[in-house]
């Protein structure tokens, strides 16, 4: 399978304050686009790169060291919970937010928190849901 990582050019705001860098991990182009738009329109965050599965996310995280990772759970090749476990084994301080349609499944939600996810956002989500969680990190 070809590498589907997308990289973005970091942006410095007019006030000279660096925005927090986010990587998006989702096999859905549509969701990644939606998240990218929400984040790009905020003043506080910017998308650094996108990955389409957990394995790509880990590689990307090690190379880019983002401030925040927004990650889906149900993905091919490596699912989000496996990627979360691996990522936190590499960097215990990684800030990972799971964004998933499985958020309402109690076991999945609590497993993500037990593993160290900072929060879980259920799909469908609204822009304010995402920004509220990212701001709280």
């Amino acid at each position: 399978m070809k590498d589907s990582v997308r990289l973005f050019v970091p942006y410095r705001s007019g006030e000279g304050k660096m925005k927090k860098k986010v990587i998006i991990v989702d096999d859905s182009i549509a969701v990644a686009r939606q998240l990218e738009k929400i984040i790009a329109e905020s003043d506080e965050f910017e998308v650094l790169a996108q990955a389409r599965n957990g394995a790509e996310a880990i590689k990307l995280y090690q190379g880019k060291k983002p401030d925040i990772v927004c990650m889906d759970m149900n993905m091919p090749l490596m699912d989000g919970l496996t990627a979360l476990r691996t990522l936190l084994a590499l960097d215990r301080s990684a800030k990972v937010v799971m964004i998933t349609s499985l958020g309402g499944v109690g076991d999945k939600y609590t497993e993500a928190l037990k593993l160290g996810a900072r929060d879980v956002i259920s799909k469908p989500f609204q822009p304010e849901d995402v920004l509220r969680v990212l701001r709280a990190l």
């Binding site: 859905s28 182009i29 549509a30 149900n74 349609s101 499985l102 499944v105 109690g106 609590t110 900072r118």
Partner: protein
Amino acid sequence: MAVKFFGQYLIEKGVVSREGLLKAVALQDSVNLKFGDMARSMGLITDADIDRVHDAQKTKDQHFGEMCLSLGILTKEQMQQVLARQKVTHLYIGEALVKVNAIRDEDLARHLAAFKADQAPYAVEAVAIPKGVPHAYLWEIAADLSYKMFSRVVNLTFRRGACTSITSMDRNDVVVAMQMHGTVEARYVLSVSAGVRDQIARAILKEQDVSKEPREVLVDAVMELMNIACGNIVAKAVQMGYAIEIAPPVIVAAPLAAPASGCALLFPLHTAEERVEVGIFIEKK
């Protein structure tokens, strides 16, 4: 807005902290014993029996209690005793949150009522399923939540068609599927014509115009709608006692036939000009 569980709702409302919820879940894990652990704690089975059951489960898909019966480890009466003890001692998440002081006992009823009101839009409305179909209530959940997602996420105007048993499902502009494993082995299929495909893409991408989008993006949006629908179906099904996992969505190119050892259901959504269908292909377990 989505199907949620109580602990998640309380975190989102800022009523409990992440740490408070995790403490409560840890307490639940220590109190709500699995069937084998409960039977052992009651002195009805040994560690060696548990190993025997686990070995047998590798070749036959059967619940722990039923396997104990099959292997002659427990009598039917003893199995009922274990199930009854599990029920009596079960600690719900609300009670666990009170026990770990994450919420106050006197506030629990109020929070539960607010949660119930929040989730009322996702209460399952009855959908008639043909007689003899296994796990009919699960398919009612699947159909009703699919209808709700089309109404609320896509803003599609449609009339719910009667559910029918089918032997095959015809091609359409986009047909995508998601495998469900666990209590049931089934395939959830979503089939949409071009106009609805674009309407879904506009809703998922939150764009007014998707006419210049490549087909890949439009199909991906349909897969994402299915992912949202199935995730919420699983969340609701788990609340009702089913154990279900879903696999990532896939595109279906060939016409679909009902499994030889199972059955298939069709839930049409009637619109003025478009063809929209949800299909459930159920393997016999």
